[in-house]
Symmetry: C2
Subunit: 154 residues, 2 copies
DNA sequence: TGTATTAATGAAAATGATTTTCATTAACTT
DNA sequence: AAGTTAATGAAAATCATTTTCATTAATACA
């Protein structure tokens, strides 16, 4: 029914049926700065669409991930987080993750050096271990601005 | 009671009471090539020490981690894996993770380039975001030798 | 514009890793 | 050897995610 995002992303073919939950979930992901958990998306939806179940949020996120539309990020707090793949972050962006509150900050600094090293490493490791490399993660773990203050034991 | 590892690692002070479960769990970690899950450790123990509970395995692993004795690695299969910190792997070693079977392979290639990039990035990001960086992960995801063969859809 | 087909949904139950609770045991102090 | 209390183990609880299954509704097409 709702066509806000359907045409925009030219997904109708790959997606199957374009439903209201799918449209609304995509909308939430579009508006936010990213790194939302399934529960956070569900909560954001709830006031305007109390009918949409958490199960559907999970299923839709998995669908979007399969289509390469969003990226799933493991957070040390135990719940997965999801972010839309946009023009800017599409190529290469990595994460600064707060061990206390789970906040995730994107960064793209040193992308060139990083890419160079990643390519070199991929090539060598793929050969050495006969491993098919599909993706990589680089992340820095620590304490965010806020959490540095609120005392410090992890 | 058992003193196999207690003295060896000079842990008695920091650890509190040195118990048989702690000794045996450390022994399993020492013997293995690393990257064991709590359940795998429990299973390895079971034949010789059926009395040791899975709960104790979890508690002991958390203790060892707090003491910096082992490293905890998140695996995409949903269970955490643990490896002893040894002389070789202590400094810097990263992971090749199979998305299908969860196998984790250590690598240390390009450690110098990596370290250089990591330091540069850490410095810049810590300033830029007022973030206290405590650790980092670099990992390559894909399919291991075995899993490449057993067909290919992820 | 109906109507049929069946993919998508939502509620509830199941799963599976990890954590908590609490009564019992045993490591270490004296 | 005895007392103190940290550590343990079994069972229950938690919590994110997945599965089940009956119902709904998006799309194709008459
Ligand atoms: Mn991101
Ligand atoms: Mn390792
Ligand atoms: Zn934080
Ligand atoms: Zn594999």
């Amino acid at each position: 029914m709702p066509r806000r995002h359907c045409a925009r992303h030219g997904l109708r073919e790959q997606v199957g049926r374009w439903t209201e939950p799918r449209d609304v979930i995509l909308d939430v992901l579009s508006r936010s700065k990213g790194h939302l958990s399934a529960k956070e998306i569900y909560d954001a939806l709830y006031s305007s669409h109390p009918g949409i179940g958490l199960t559907t949020v999970y299923r839709t996120l998995e669908l979007f991930r399969r289509l390469g539309f969003i990226q799933k990020v493991a957070s040390p707090d135990g719940q997965a987080r999801y972010e839309l793949r946009t023009e800017e972050n599409k190529g290469h962006h990595h994460h600064l993750i707060c061990l206390r509150c789970g906040k995730i900050i994107d960064y793209q600094d040193f992308a060139d050096e990083e890419l160079e090293l990643v390519k070199k490493t991929e090539k060598a490791l793929a050969q050495k271990h006969n491993f098919l490399i599909l993706d990589h993660n680089i992340e820095f773990l620590g304490l965010c601005d806020k959490c540095r203050q609120a005392a410090g034991d992890i």
